[in-house]
């Protein structure tokens, strides 16, 4: 597309906007990059007051853990390669092998497989290879930056953090699936009904969304803990104790998330022309058949975008999960907060930083993959409502 002359920008504007962008990118990424740097240093370095000590980690290096120039160069090259692979090759493979309706499933398989392959290649094969090369290379192989993965090992292996990871995944998957199923039905109906009831429902939902969560959660706790006793008259001995049950937490999070979900999906459905399902109705379909046959195939961009927001809510939730789940079902965020809030040692804190970086990694992957879908999904619907 050729740019019309009047759209071309003067140099000053281009420089200002590039400068602004650079500053913004720095602000956006700095805190996250910084905790990533802290997480690979010994506690003495991680909380040192001199920033250079934090970056180069003299105490970590003194303990014999470090990266040589070679490690850095090879590591960066492999990283850049891996990112390019994820952005270019992976989408092609997915669209090749998983056409049409299986797209979502294909992405889940591909993303998981890619993540596992990357972790193995980057953290197992590469270090082993470099471990062989470094001693041979003399000065190039001398460690110059302190780096240790011991906190990650402590978190994932010794603390069995993968259990929290699995719990998080169960809760998140449950919330996203149920939330979208329930939400699309409601969103569709709300978009197609101009009645006053529909309007007031939306307004009430909005009011619900504005509710401070601490109020709700405090209401749940006594009921969840005593539910076996409370429900016994109806359910007999089968009455469950809801406290500590992942599915009970899923139900709570779905409900808290419903207002946003139905608002968002309603806007999407409003942008799908009425004529589409009305034509199907003329052909003798019921509302539900029309929804299933005509609407479902075209609603995916909107559903994926809404799903991402549900994912973020469930994955990042702290208040509900920390209060209603016990240790054996604990998800990642409260587990990390636990490291900080109990009487901690500095090592605990650096381990918590490592755990914090770890839980950000799946979010990275998610955004990397779905980035285009987010923007196109928003463009397709929600932003017009």
């Amino acid at each position: 597309m050729s740019t019309p002359r009047a759209m071309r920008q003067p140099l000053a504007l281009r420089l200002t906007s590039a400068g602004f962008l650079a500053v913004w990118c720095l602000i956006a990424s700095f805190p996250i990059v910084w905790i990533a740097v802290m997480s690979v240093k010994s506690p003495v370095d991680a909380f040192a007051s001199n920033p250079l000590d934090v970056i180069f980690g003299p105490a970590t290096r003194a303990a014999g853990n470090g990266l040589s120039l070679l490690d850095i160069v090879v590591g960066l090259v492999v990283l850049v390669f891996a990112v390019r692979l994820a952005l270019n090759w992976l989408p092609r493979m997915v669209s090749h092998y998983a056409p049409g309706g299986q797209m979502l499933f294909g992405w889940i398989v591909a993303a998981t497989g890619y993540a596992v392959a990357f972790v193995i290649a980057y953290f197992v094969i590469l270090p082993a290879l470099l471990g062989l090369l470094n001693p041979v290379l003399g000065p190039l192989g001398q460690p110059i930056i302190g780096l240790t993965t011991e906190h990650y090992r402590a978190v994932w292996v010794d603390n069995a953090f993968y259990r929290n990871f699995i719990n998080s995944m169960v809760v998140t998957a449950g919330v996203v699936t149920i939330s979208l199923t329930v939400g699309t039905l409601a969103g569709f109906a709300l978009a197609r009904s101009g009645s006053t009831v529909a309007f007031w429902l939306l307004i009430v939902a909005l009011g619900f969304r504005a509710l401070p969560h601490s109020v709700l959660v405090a209401g749940y706790l006594p009921f969840f803990v005593n539910s076996a006793e409370i429900l016994r008259p109806w359910l007999g001995e089968a009455a469950p104790t809801l406290y500590g049950q992942p599915w009970a937490v899923i139900a709570v999070l779905v409900s808290i998330n419903q207002p946003f979900t139905i608002w968002m999906l309603r806007s999407f459905f409003q942008n799908i022309p009425n004529e589409l399902d009305e034509a199907a109705r003329v052909d003798g379909c019921t509302h539900f058949q029309a929804f299933r046959l005509v609407i479902m195939p075209v609603m995916w961009p909107g559903v994926i975008t809404t799903g991402l927001f549900s994912f973020l809510l469930a994955y990042n939730d702290f208040l509900v999960t920390s209060l209603l789940l016990d240790q054996s079902n604990q998800t990642m965020v409260p587990a990390i907060a636990g490291y900080f809030n109990r009487e901690t040692t500095t090592t605990d804190q650096v381990e918590a930083v490592a755990a914090a970086v770890s839980i950000t990694a799946p979010l990275f992957l998610l955004v990397m993959i779905f980035q285009r879908q987010i923007v196109s999904g928003l463009t397709a619907g929600a932003v017009k409502g």
Partner: protein, 406 residues
């Protein structure tokens, strides 16, 4: 690599592990416990998991959850970890059971002073004592020719010398984070000045000479602290010590071991402990005594209770103490006080002795009122008298709501 026993691994792997040889019996009753989450509880629950079928939950939310979970029928946890502060709601609701029979049957190893008795009934088994006491950099005090301070006035004088010498960033540290910590620091000082929290008719009495003196002493101390003292909790003070940024602080005894941890501390071997300073000549050390211990739920079967008690006895046995000697000031047979425990012991055995933190509903309400209303004095918004008056007003409101005051 640092392979400390870590709580979650222990808690979860416990479910799958068969009874290990370290436990005297094999537990077959599924058991769960809920306690606070500091180093000593790690050690104790790890020892308990060796008996099998035991799952420990160590959580900073235990305070919120424990009263509800113990009141459920059946109780969600058979075992509970409490301190003299947090045992109150359980005693109030009678959700923990008397342990005399079990002590007689399975508790021969216990020392008499471990039994927490209320009206003659054993309601809890204490495992450790904790108190705030003075920790100081012995090298700095030696270099400057200072004696170890015994009163807060001497602390102020020493801080002045250290400040002038400029050897550390800040001469003093304190656990004065807004809320529970700040209120506890005030309690220590207030009791040190001989204050009484309540009049005999139940009305609050903190707005007194002792109260004003306490606040003024604390304010004087803040001159020598990091100006961000209102966010500094125990971990923060511990880190300040470890990084060599402060020279003295009144800190929890359970924090002592961290000073000598070479992986974290830059001052290994340089920190010593002494009794908590006195607020006034001839008074008690300005601190309170705490105990931590184990309770067993009332709403469970006798069989479960017996199993829980036996597992608990394995958790607080001599073997565990020998493996984790410096994690706390243990009350258990076999404990050898380490270098940093002398301060806590000197505090506890001082004459006159500091009082134990009172476990009453009124004290809980007073603690919250103090934690919420005192910060205004330290931010400079109100005078000491006004802050204490606000404490009293807040206490009266919440005490009336709770029904403990007409």
């Amino acid at each position: 690599m640092n392979l400390r026993p870590i709580l979650m691994a222990g808690a979860i792997s416990a479910v799958a592990l068969p009874a290990a040889a370290d436990c005297a019996f094999e537990n077959t009753v599924p058991l769960r416990s809920l306690s606070a989450a500091f180093e000593a509880w790690n050690a104790v629950t790890d020892a308990m998991t060796e008996c099998g079928n035991f799952e420990a939950e160590l959580s900073q939310e235990f305070r919120t959850l424990q009263p509800e979970a113990m009141a459920a029928n059946p109780a969600l946890y058979q075992l509970g970890g409490v301190s003299n502060g947090t045992v109150t709601p359980l005693l109030n609701a009678q959700t923990i059971r008397p342990l005399d029979d079990l002590v007689e049957q399975y508790g021969q190893q216990l020392r008499p002073n471990q039994l927490i008795r209320i009206n003659g009934q054993t309601m809890a088994i204490a495992m450790m004592v904790n108190t705030q006491h003075l920790m100081y950099r012995s090298d700095i005090l030696d270099d400057l020719g200072l004696d170890v301070p015994e009163t807060w006035d001497e602390v102020l004088a020493a801080a002045e010398v250290i400040e002038a010498a400029g050897v550390v960033d800040y001469p003093l540290g304190a656990t004065m984070a807004t809320g529970w910590n700040l209120a506890q620091d005030f309690n220590n000082m207030f009791l040190g000045y001989g204050g009484q929290f309540l009049n005999s008719d139940g009305t609050p009495a903190v707005n007194s000479e002792a109260g004003v003196n306490s606040l003024e002493t604390m304010m004087a101390l803040t001159e020598y602290m990091d100006p961000e003292y209102l966010v500094s909790d125990s971990t923060y003070v511990q880190q300040q010590f470890q990084q060599g940024r402060i020279a003295m602080a009144n800190l929890w005894g359970s924090r002592g071991a961290a000073m000598d941890d070479p992986a974290e501390s830059q001052v290994v071997g340089l920190v010593d402990a002494a009794a908590a300073p006195r607020a006034m000549e001839g008074g008690p050390p300005a601190t309170t005594l705490w105990w931590d211990g184990i309770v067993i739920a009332a709403n469970i079967t006798d069989e479960e209770a017996a199993a829980a008690f036996r597992v608990a006895m394995e958790g607080i046995d001599t073997e565990m103490v020998q493996a984790n000697n410096d994690a706390a000031v243990w009350l258990i047979e076999g404990y050898e006080p380490g270098r940093l425990a002398v301060g806590a012991i000197a505090t506890a055995t001082a004459d006159p002795a500091p009082t134990a933190y009172p476990s009453t509903s009124q004290m809980g309400l007073m603690h919250s009122a103090l934690g919420n209303a005192l910060p205004a004095y330290f931010t400079g918004d109100v005078s000491a008298e006004a802050a204490l008056a606000a404490v009293e007003a807040a206490y009266i409101t919440s005490a009336q709501e709770a029904g403990v005051l007409e």
